[in-house]
Symmetry: C2
Subunit: 460 residues, 2 copies
Amino acid sequence: MENNQIKNTKTATVIGAGLVGSLWAIYLKNAGYQVNVFERRSDMRLNKISAGKSINLATSYRGWKALDELGIGDEIRKIAIPMYGRTLHHQNGDTAYQPYGNNNQAIYSVSRGDINSKLMSIAEENSNVKIYFNQECVAVNLDLGKAVFKDTTTGVSKEVVADVVFATDGAFSAARYNGFQKLDRFNYSQNYIPDGYREILLPANEDGSFKLSVETLHIWPRGRFMLIALPNFDGSFTCTLFMPFDGHEHCFNNLTSKEKVNTFFKELFPDFYELMPNVADSWEDHPLSSLAIIRCFPWTRGKVALMGDAAHATVPFFGQGMNCGFEDCSVMWSLMQKHAENWDAIFKEYETLRKPNGDAVQDLSLQNYIVMRDKVADPDFLLLQKIERRINFLYPDAYFPLYSMVSFTDISYHTALTKGNEQENKIKQLISENAITKDTPDAKIDEIIHQYIQKSSSLN
Amino acid sequence: MENNQIKNTKTATVIGAGLVGSLWAIYLKNAGYQVNVFERRSDMRLNKISAGKSINLATSYRGWKALDELGIGDEIRKIAIPMYGRTLHHQNGDTAYQPYGNNNQAIYSVSRGDINSKLMSIAEENSNVKIYFNQECVAVNLDLGKAVFKDTTTGVSKEVVADVVFATDGAFSAARYNGFQKLDRFNYSQNYIPDGYREILLPANEDGSFKLSVETLHIWPRGRFMLIALPNFDGSFTCTLFMPFDGHEHCFNNLTSKEKVNTFFKELFPDFYELMPNVADSWEDHPLSSLAIIRCFPWTRGKVALMGDAAHATVPFFGQGMNCGFEDCSVMWSLMQKHAENWDAIFKEYETLRKPNGDAVQDLSLQNYIVMRDKVADPDFLLLQKIERRINFLYPDAYFPLYSMVSFTDISYHTALTKGNEQENKIKQLISENAITKDTPDAKIDEIIHQYIQKSSSLN
């Protein structure tokens, strides 16, 4: 902050050194800003602390695009495990594999702590970014670009003024709470879904090898709830049980004893139980947590902008939370160039462009919970998926499946949502009009697809 | 609060001495509670201060039901002016009258300050209710029924513990903010509509007489915006202009000078302008205010319940804000009797019963803005209304118009909304199938109605 006093130095405050804050500090540094980042927690690189509620993330196209734009993608790829598809585990022990895309497309499992630590270290690589830890944001003046931080170790508060301020402090953003939420006409909603989640660590074998196949995302779909598992570098899997809190036969509030947890896994996830017969002992290792969609608007006012979860926190079912936040950075960066750092113009266009996409990624995330926990095991959905992939294979320019648009392109979330749902209706119609079943020969399906595409130049 | 120490005295804290808080204190007093009411503002009976943002209210059936249940309806009737219908003022100066119901049904214009003052005085009529003013609620412990109030004149805080606590402190409830909004899994949304409002006082004639016809609610519907006027006891009318803030030809942000205000009224409300040619001088007398729908859930936790606007603040277009809050009191009171003051059971059933009605009154209010500002002047809507009233007249048991269900019965808001929209669709169908127009003779319309009712035993 000493540098605030040097004339002609552009200054920026970033509130929160999470994934989006750390990445955005790198962009700002590259643009010649003196950046001060204030993080409420202590330095996760020094202390083994959790970097938030979930341990794993899936990085997909939009995330890589931002990382590669900064030239740091390859460094992150070193700590990422590709997942080329979903492996479904049925209750009877059968498994099935569904590729995510054609051409070996993959999403990448990364540890939240590892990627966050790396981004902070890259940000700090020269003196233009300084991260201050244990700094709680207690007040924000939007018009003045002023924020007040209380050092939680000393209790001392300080005021920081900068040319521009970015709130990247997550779903329950203190900057949003202390600044935006006090504005007249600020729209805000937090809606919890009826389901919660609990993480369970499935350790590696004694020799360090994986207990489940790696390079895939494991799902145990059970209709109203599901278990998933993502691989970690050390051979372990981070498993997460998503389930209603209450009101259902199977719900968290019914699992009130070790015996009940045991019986639940033994009966509903028998193959998982075999790998982890002591699951009930690990049940309390991670807390039961809730899941919310948080919407708000405006996202900018005066000298302050909300980015990432602070603007559009979502439920995690499309694996797009971090990717969407990173895309916020890409978009803000492109607007900085377009508007020659006229922040009024940048902020106006940023919120106009991104708000519909924030809403769409939330809708997509809610929609994909039903896909993951239920539809993936539904024969009608499997047939639809098969035809989708086949059309995409035969006419890659005419057709993108929804999952691919979201995970393997930077087509806007809003367009992806709209087109994806239109396409699904068209394929359902194709299936019913041509009486396609799972027994229809592949050659016959191809013929139907060729005819269809000839009639309608594209499904898009 | 001295009485808190007396054994076996049931104690209640009411946060907010507005309309709902004051009324609810009377119910609690009658049920034998020692009631302490804490109000953030000073005593409006001593100081001439505004009791909130709007000056007039319309009391309808649900409001009277609660007041009469307490035996105080007649006292309030003394300060209420009946409005039997709407008087529409078209731009060309024509006026038209639409009755609200059959049988001389009316809604009643009351001054917010007058009714609030009266309710406070009735509440205080014996020593069991004590109202403390200048008391800001700064903390709430929901499970302990403890609230902390800071005296805004002395700065001194005190803790108050009671058997049961009611937050009736309005749309931006401090009790909700300090208590409920910190709960995990508390759903909350505040959505501002794009429109704001500004009040204008149209004074009485010099002899104290009214400048417009009394016993009616005046509307100047202009499609995207409107002016309304409600009569006051002193011969004046409280007029309110509802209009978008921006983005339209006619919007508040365009009225930036006295000249523009003048031209706007002269052109768009010529008959009003003639009555008040100095309208531009009064333009700044009242602030430009915003309008929001606030939804949340749960409404109860531990020993604390949200009532009235604190639970379900709405936009004012159906005139149901106070009526719905008073109905919360009626319902809570009936549940106190049903559950013999088992507050856990009362609270559970209260929020389960009332939440759908809180949502419905908000939907109805939004819907009625379009009716008031636009549909009332639409010939299709007038035809629909005419047929509605005729069916209701011919078959009063088979058919209630939506407006009547909401304003003249205690049919639940949720049922009214659902039935009302179903009915409207049926009447539209009746009109189109029978090619009814404004020129169809009344006898022919009656014949169509008789036939229709005979086919379908009821339209409900």
